[in-house]
């Protein structure tokens, strides 16, 4: 009886007060919309990757462009095409143009740091992506390479450390001096140290080049046909290892562990058994985070340089068993 009474009172309250609540909500939504128009619409976001021709930076750029178009944000890309000095010049030139947000992909920890500070002093929000610099700006979005390396090494140990496996593995580094490579190596080494039974028969660098990776892997496979696992730093480079394994007739025997931002044809390679496991940090998700952070900063009204937000990208270990049509992103062919 009491419950029925309570229910009736609640119903009465809803009927009588409903329109007011809705009106209040309407006002809030309207306020937010107005605030949005003032703070976000028509603002300029400039994106400077190390090069705009690699799949990862393309996925980021195309996705951000799509979101920006929808939100009414002016989105611009500046392409230094792997030229570090040019990237520094582009960044400095952009500071003069005074956009509202800069999204910058550092080539190393050092070179852009002074210009990033200068940008924030000039009143521009700065978001650094995938590779942090010495300078801590408003936001950082990206992978934690040492955790990624440790996670990959754990998987390698699991696959190659058991009974029946040869315990022999090989590593194919990217560019040994990049912070990303160093981080992965550091994480991986911390895991391998705990497993002395794992024998690293080769540790070479291919400088992100698939042909170099192919040639080095062919030589290593020829000397160690009983190799169990090959761990590489990027799927574009490691596709060369996959071809060397295939050409040596060792497909299915040598397990290739790689990582990327969900770039085709890595998923195709997983399905065909050329890659064993791909540690994907979804680039589309990263791009969403970049744009969300830009929009948040614009509405925060904080002085650029006062906030230090870090958003670390999730890593999705993907194998032939759990690869789906959305694991990898197909780029538009311009």
């Amino acid at each position: 009886m009491r419950r029925l009474l309570g229910g009736m009172m609640a119903l009465a309250a809803l009927v009588c007060l409903g329109p007011d609540i809705a009106a209040a909500q309407g006002n809030t939504a309207q306020e937010l919309q107005e605030q949005w128009k003032k703070d976000v619409a028509g603002k300029t976001v400039v994106y400077i990757p190390v090069a705009y021709s690699v799949p990862l930076t393309r996925i980021w750029g195309e996705r951000m462009q799509m979101i920006a178009d929808r939100l009414g944000i002016k989105f611009q890309v500046r392409d230094p095409n792997f030229n570090t000095q040019r990237e520094e010049q582009l960044l400095t030139a952009e500071i003069g143009q005074h956009p509202d947000v800069l999204i910058v992909h550092n080539p190393n920890v050092q070179v852009l740091a002074p210009a990033l500070r200068q940008a924030e002093n000039a009143g521009i929000y700065v978001i650094q992506i995938n590779m942090a610099s010495r300078y801590k700006s408003d936001a950082f979005i990206g992978v934690q390479p040492n955790e990624l390396g440790a996670q990959m090494a754990d998987a390698v140990v699991k696959a190659c450390g058991g009974p029946g496996a040869s315990h022999k593995i090989a590593l194919m580094d990217g560019e040994v001096t990049s912070a990303y490579s160093l981080g992965i190596m550091e994480g991986a080494t911390s895991v391998f140290k705990k497993h002395p039974d794992i024998q690293i028969v080769s540790n070479q660098a291919a400088n992100w080049d698939s042909k170099t990776a192919h040639d080095k892997a062919a030589t290593v496979l020829q000397a160690h046909p009983d190799l169990c696992g090959y761990m590489g730093w990027w799927s574009g480079q490691d596709s060369g290892i996959a071809q060397a394994v295939k050409q040596a007739g060792l497909l299915g025997k040598v397990k290739i562990f790689t990582t990327d931002g969900g770039e085709q044809p890595a998923c195709q390679y997983l399905k065909e058994g050329l890659f064993y496991e791909d540690f994907i940090y979804p680039a589309v998700l990263q791009a969403d985070q970049m744009m969300s952070t830009a929009v948040t900063l614009l509405q925060s009204h904080t002085k650029p340089g006062t906030m230090h937000v870090a958003i670390f990208s999730p890593v999705v270990p993907t194998t032939a068993d759990n690869v789906t049509s959305t694991s990898c992103t197909e780029l538009s062919q311009k």
């Binding site: 021709s53 690699v54 028969v201 040639d215 030589t219 290593v220 596709s239 050409q247 780029l331 062919q333």
Partner: protein, 349 residues
């Protein structure tokens, strides 16, 4: 003696040195060694050291792996050698490789037949060679600048009209018969067979045909070649076209090996390795000197170093130091045995 084969030129050069510097003595046996022989000896010594240090280095299978790793570089260097012997330089050769191959891959992806795809790629690469040759021969732009410019131009055009934004083109799995080019026949990788076959063809062309001998004459003394009636302008166009087409062949081999082609290679430093292989083996940048054997010697040295150092699992910095030292040793050795001849030395020698 006509300025034909490399043998003739070499004897002339060596004889000149002996006449000027040591008029009373005939050159010692050591001094008669040509640069490619020096490089081959260096390679053999190095291979010997590796064979002692690394179990499994001196095996047939490893030799084949080693040859496979230099096949693409070797093919490119054969093309580069033709141009350099004719006193030219083709910086855009890697563009012919990547853009031609990318064209073929794009046609395959669009569902075109493999022969049609290969023809389309061929046409694109040949066009690059023809443009180079025409600009250098008829507008008389120095080859370094001309090919540097076409390299950029073609890369940009290819980005817009052929490969699209990503620069990386994958060969579709349906083109399995094309991808078989990257496999082996009776354990011998097909790229190695293509390299050796092409080396034989280029050798016969350079040393046995009139056109080949004209190329030596053109490189040795372009003015004399022209005055003696050799059509040097069409010859220049031929040299650059051959370089581009051979580059394209290397591109097909590379693409079959990796089942993809990364056009970013055009902006990389691969061309320096190509020129290094040729020049290291004795194809002089002043023109008219060197042969296919030079390319093979230079390629083998690079291949032995790469293979041995990978097997030794040396770090990147150690590899660079070692590579630099061996290259320096080969060049210094050549300089000691063949001092510069002040009477015939040219600017840039």
């Amino acid at each position: 003696m006509p300025p034909g084969s490399s043998e003739d030129v070499r004897i002339n050069a060596a004889g000149g040195v002996a006449d000027v510097a040591l008029p009373a003595r005939t050159p010692s046996r050591l001094k008669r060694l040509t640069q490619e022989q020096i490089v081959l000896i260096t390679t053999l010594v190095l291979a010997g050291v590796f064979a002692v240090l690394i179990p499994g280095f001196a095996t047939v299978q490893n030799l084949l792996t080693l040859l496979n790793s230099i096949a693409v570089l070797g093919i490119l260097s054969l093309g580069a050698a033709i141009v350099i012997i004719g006193r030219g330089l083709d910086i855009s050769q890697v563009a012919s490789l990547a853009i031609g191959a990318a064209m073929a891959a794009v046609v395959m992806r669009a569902g075109g037949s493999i022969p049609w795809a290969i023809f389309c790629g061929f046409a694109v690469s040949l066009a690059i060679g023809l443009v180079n040759g025409l600009v250098i021969a008829f507008i008389e732009v120095p080859p370094l600048f001309a090919t540097l410019a076409t390299n950029l131009l073609m890369f940009g055009l290819a980005q817009i009209f052929i490969v699209g934004s990503t620069l990386l083109v994958y060969v579709p799995a349906s083109a399995a018969s094309f991808l078989a080019l990257g496999h082996s026949v009776a354990r011998v990788p097909i790229p190695v067979l293509i390299f050796l076959g092409l080396a034989l063809l280029v050798h016969l062309f350079l040393s046995r045909t009139r056109m080949g001998r004209f190329i030596y004459a053109h490189g040795d003394n372009p003015e004399a070649a022209r005055l003696s009636g050799i059509p040097t302008r069409p010859l220049t166009v031929l040299e650059y076209s051959l370089s581009a087409v051979i580059g394209y062949l290397a591109g097909l081999v590379l693409m079959a090996t990796l089942s993809s082609i990364d056009t970013q290679i055009v902006m990389g430093t691969e061309i320096f390795n190509v020129i290094l292989v040729a020049v290291l083996g004795g194809v002089s940048l002043v023109g008219g000197r060197g042969s296919v054997l030079s390319v093979i010697a230079g390629g083998l040295l690079i291949g032995v170093m790469l293979d041995g150092m990978t097997l030794l699992n040396l770090g990147n910095d150690t590899q660079n130091i070692f590579r630099g030292l061996v290259l320096l040793a080969a060049i210094v050795g050549d300089n000691l045995l063949h001092p510069r001849d002040e009477e015939t030395a040219r600017h840039g020698d």
